[in-house]
Amino acid sequence: MAEAGSDGRRSRSTREWMQYAFVRLGVLPFLLLIAVAIFALLSENYLTWRNLVGVARQSTYLTMVAMGQMLALLTGGFDLSVGTMLAVTSVVGALAMTSVAAAAPDAVALAIGAGILAGFGAGLSIGIANGIGVAVFGVSPFMMTLGMASVGFGIALYLTGGVPVYGMPAEFGETFGFGSWFAIPVPIYVTIALMAILYVLLNWTRTGRYLYAIGGNIKASALSGINTRFNLFMAYVLCAALTAIAGIMLTARLETGEANIGASMPLESIAACVIGGVSLRGGTGRVGNVVLGAIFIGLVQNGMNLARIESYLQIVVIGVLLIVAVVADQLRQRLIATLRD
C-alpha cells in the first residue's frame, strides 16, 4: 500500500485524503484531534504545560497495563485479570512492606525492597497461572483470565478484610508516587523505560516476532518450528509483569494497599489497545499507538474533569469511545478491502 500515495491522480479531493489517512493511521489521530479541540474550547486550563504533564503522569498506570494487555491481544487472546493483578500487587506489596517496616523500623530500604518484590511476585503469579491455563491446558483466555480475576480479587479482599493497608514508609510514596526529576514525575520515566523495552522486545527479538506470528496463525507458527506453548505462556507472564509494575507505582501514589483499585482496568486497557489499532483477532498492533491510545483516554478523562462532567457519566463516555473505536476499525477493514482492488 506504500506506493498508493505516490501514483494515481495528482489532485486528490479532501475526502480522498481523509480516507487515505484513515486507512493508513486508523481512527486514533481523528479522535485525538476532536477531543483536544473540544476540551480546549471548554476549558482554558486544558492546554497548559502543567495540565498536560499531569495528564501524562495520570496516564502512566493505564499505559503500563495497556502495554501488558497488548501482549495478550497480539497472541489473539486477552487478559481480563489485569485489574485484580493491580489489586493483589498493591495489597501484598503493602502488607509485606508494613510488616517488614514494623519489624525493622530503621531498614527503610529493606522494607521498600521487600514490599516491591513481594507485590511483583504476587502479581506475576496470577500471570503464571493464566499462562499455564491458556498455553498448557488450552483454556480459552476469556474463561481463564475471568476466573483468575475472581480468584485474585477474592485473595486481595481476604488478605485485607476489605480495609486499605496503611503504614508503608513515607519514602516509598515520596520516591515512586510523588517524586520527580527535572520537573518530570518519576512514573513517566518508568513508563518510558518500559516502552523502550517493549518496543525492542516486539521488534528486535525472536520472542516478539513469534508473538505476532502466533496471534496471526498459530498453526503456521507451530509448523515453522515455533514453541507456541512457551511463547503464549510468556505473553501472559509478561503482561502480568507490566501490570504488577503498574500496581507498585499506583500503590506508591495512593500510599495505601487497596483491593479495590483497578476495577476499570480490564476495560480501559483493552480500549486503549483497540483505539491504538491493536486487532482483537491478534497478529497486529504497535507499541507507540497503544501508548497514544492510553494517553488519549487520559486526555479525555482529564478534559471531562476540567469541564466538570459528572464522574458517572464519564464511565459512559469511555464505553462509548471503545465501541466507536471498534466500529471505526470495522469500517477501516472494509475500506481496505475495497481499496485493494
Partner: protein, 521 residues
C-alpha cells in the same frame, strides 16, 4: 411452506422432464458475464443443461467454475447475459428464488448447523408450521421419508456434529432433494468421500438422472468424468473454451483445453540422481489410525510421489514424520538418525522441511508481511539473529533476494501477505522453504489454487531443488503431477500403502487402478 410435500411433487415432475427430447433445455446461459470490482470472473460464457444429463464443469482453480454455479444457484447476479430456465428467461435473485425454480447446490463448504439434528437441518429456513408452532412430527416423518427414498442410512434425530464428512454431505444432498428438484449442482462432491461412499453417490446420481434431474458436476478427476459424465464444458480464465461429449475426451485433450498448453510445456524434464537414503519410514501407524503400517523411503536427488485420494492418509504420513501427527508405532529415520516423535522445530534444525497444503490455514500468517513470513521458520539461524536481537538489515536483504529469485509480484516484501494474489502467496510459502538449509522437502499439494504460470514456476522450483541434490517427497491428488514429475511413486489407499511404482511403471492406468478398490472386472 409447502416443502414437506415436495417429495411427492418430485415424483410427478420426473416423468415429464425425462423423456422430452424436443423440449428446451432445463437451463441455458447466454453470454453470461460476472464482474467483481477489478476482476472479470466470468466473460460471456454460454452453457446449457439438459434434463437427465450430467454436465461436467472442468477448469483450473480460478477458471470461473465457482462463479458460474454461484450465478445459477442465486448467490450472485450476472453482470450481463441471460439465464433461461426451461426456455423462459429467469431472474435468480437469491438462493431462495433458485430453490423455488428447483435449483439446488451442494457446495464444498457445507451450509449445515452442526449443533442441530439432521431433520432440523433438512428443514432449516423452511420449517413446517401448524398454528404458528413447529410441526415437529410432520417434519420428522417427511425427513424419514426423504432419507429412505435416497437410501441414506442416517438417523434424523442425530446431531450433525457427530456425522462423518460423507454423512454430512448426504444431509446436504437430502436437503437439495427435499423440494421439487430439477437442477442439482455438485461442487467436487467426492473430495472427501471414501470409495464406498463415492459409489453410493454415483448410484444416487444415476437415480436422479433417471428422474430427469439435470446435474452440473464440478470435478478435477478425469476418471470420474469418464464414469458419470455426459458432456464436459471447459472454462479457462473466466472464458468458455469448449463443450464436448465425454466420449471425445481424453486426459491429454482436457489438460490442453484447461491450461491452454501441451503437457510437455507444463512439466519440466528432471534429471534424477538418486543418492543416499534421506528419509526412511518403517511400519508407521499413527495414533488416529489414518495411517497403518506404512513403510516408505526417499533418497537424495529424487522426487518421490505420494498419491491417493483425499483421506487416504498420504498427507498424514508426512505430518507424522514432521512431528505434527501422533505416532502409535513405527520408526522414522532421517539422515541416519532416529527422529521418531521429534517436534517440528527439531526436524527443521536437521534439515527437514514440510510445506503444508493450505497456505491460509497452516502456511502463512496472512496479516503479516512477506518478509516476516519468509523467515518465520529460520529466525534461530545465526545469519538472522544474534544471541539477543534480530539482525533486521540482513533479513531484509535476504528477503529481497528470495523475492527476486521467485519473481514475487509486486516486489514489495513488507506488503502483508493477504494483499498478494494466490500464486504469489504460494511463492512466499516456497520462499520459506529456502530460508534455511534443507536436505529434504515435503511438498503437500503444492499447486492448489494457483494459475498455470505459477504452476510451471513451482514445478521448475521443485526440479531445481531435486537437481541440487535435495530429497523431495511430493504429496499430490493431482494425477498429472505424479505422472510427469516423479521418478518413483507410492500409492496409498485408506491408510495403507497399496503400491510402489518406479520410472516407466508410473502410468495413469496403473496409478488409478490402485486409487480405488479393485473393481471386479
Amino acid at each position: 411452506m409447502g416443502s414437506v410435500t415436495g417429495a411427492d411433487r418430485n415424483k410427478g415432475g420426473a416423468g415429464s422432464g425425462g423423456g422430452a427430447e424436443g423440449a428446451p433445455p432445463l437451463l441455458r446461459l447466454e453470454g453470461v458475464s460476472k464482474h467483481f470490482p477489478g476482476v472479470v470472473a466470468l466473460d460471456k460464457v454460454d452453457f446449457d443443461l439438459k434434463a437427465g444429463e450430467v454436465h461436467v464443469l472442468f477448469g483450473e482453480n480460478g477458471a470461473g467454475k465457482s462463479t458460474l454455479i454461484s450465478l445459477v444457484a442465486g448467490a450472485h447476479r450476472p453482470s450481463a447475459g441471460t439465464i433461461h430456465v426451461r426456455g423462459r428467461p429467469a431472474q435468480i435473485g437469491s438462493v431462495h428464488e433458485a430453490r423455488a425454480l428447483g435449483i439446488s447446490a451442494v457446495f464444498q463448504e457445507f451450509s449445515l448447523v452442526p449443533q442441530l439434528t439432521v431433520e432440523q437441518n433438512l428443514f432449516l429456513g423452511a420449517e413446517a408450521l401448524s398454528g404458528g408452532f413447529l410441526a415437529k412430527r410432520r417434519m420428522h416423518e417427511s425427513a424419514v421419508e426423504i432419507l429412505n427414498r435416497l437410501g441414506f442410512p442416517l438417523d434424523p434425530e442425530r446431531r450433525v456434529t457427530y456425522l462423518s464428512r460423507a454423512q454430512q454431505q448426504m444431509v446436504e444432498i437430502a436437503k437439495a432433494f427435499r423440494s421439487d428438484l430439477s437442477v442439482l449442482i455438485l461442487d467436487e462432491p467426492t473430495a472427501s468421500l471414501t470409495e464406498r461412499e463415492t459409489e453410493r453417490l454415483f448410484a444416487l446420481i444415476v437415480q436422479a438422472k433417471r428422474q430427469g434431474v439435470g446435474i452440473i458436476y464440478i470435478t478435477h478427476r478425469i476418471n470420474e468424468i469418464k464414469r458419470i459424465g455426459d458432456r464436459i464444458t471447459v472454462l479457462r480464465d473466466g472464458r468458455f473454451v469448449a463443450t464436448l461429449e465425454v466420449a471425445q475426451a481424453n486426459e491429454t485433450r482436457l489438460v490442453e483445453l484447461m491450461t491452454g498448453r501441451v503437457i510437455t510445456q507444463i512439466f519440466p524434464k528432471v534429471d534424477y540422481r538418486p543418492g543416499a537414503v534421506a528419509l526412511e519410514v518403517k511400519d508407521l501407524t499413527t495414533a488416529s489410525r489414518t495411517v497403518r503400517s506404512v513403510s516408505i523411503a526417499v533418497r537424495a536427488g529424487e522426487i518421490v510421489g505420494l498419491a491417493g485420494l483425499v483421506g487416504s492418509g498420504k498427507s498424514e504420513v508426512a505430518r507424522a514424520c514432521f512431528g505434527i501427527e501422533r505416532i502409535a508405532a513405527g520408526r522414522i529415520t532421517f539422515d541416519g538418525r532416529d527422529v521418531t516423535g521429534k517436534s517440528p522445530g527439531q526436524l527443521l534444525e536437521r534439515g527437514f522441511f514440510y510445506v503444508p497444503p493450505d497456505r491460509r490455514e497452516e502456511g502463512l500468517v496472512m496479516m503479516r508481511g512477506a518478509r516476516e513470513n519468509m523467515f518465520l521458520a529460520a529466525l534461530g539461524q545465526p545469519a538472522l539473529s544474534g544471541p539477543l536481537f534480530l539482525k533486521r538489515a540482513g533479513e531484509r536483504a535476504r528477503a529481497l533476494e528470495l523475492a527476486k529469485q521467485l519473481n514475487l509480484q509486486p516486489l514489495n516484501v513488507e506488503r502483508s501477505v493477504d494483499h498478494f494474489s494466490g500464486g504469489n502467496q504460494q511463492k512466499v510459502l516456497l520462499a520459506k522453504a529456502l530460508s534455511r538449509e534443507v536436505k529434504m522437502f515435503v511438498f503437500d499439494e503444492p499447486t492448489v489454487g494457483v494459475d498455470v504460470g505459477t504452476r510451471v514456476a513451482i514445478y521448475e522450483f521443485i526440479r531445481d531443488l531435486c537437481q541440487a541434490g535435495a530429497a523431495i517427497l511430493l504429496i499430490s491428488s493431482d494425477l498429472p503431477e505424479i505422472l510427469h514429475l516423479t521418478n518413483r511413486a507410492y500409492i496409498m489407499y485408506r491408510g495403507e500403502l497399496r503400491a510402489e511404482l518406479a520410472g516407466a511403471e508410473i502410468t495413469e492406468d496403473r496409478v488409478l487402478s490402485h486409487f480405488f478398490e479393485r473393481e471386479a472386472a
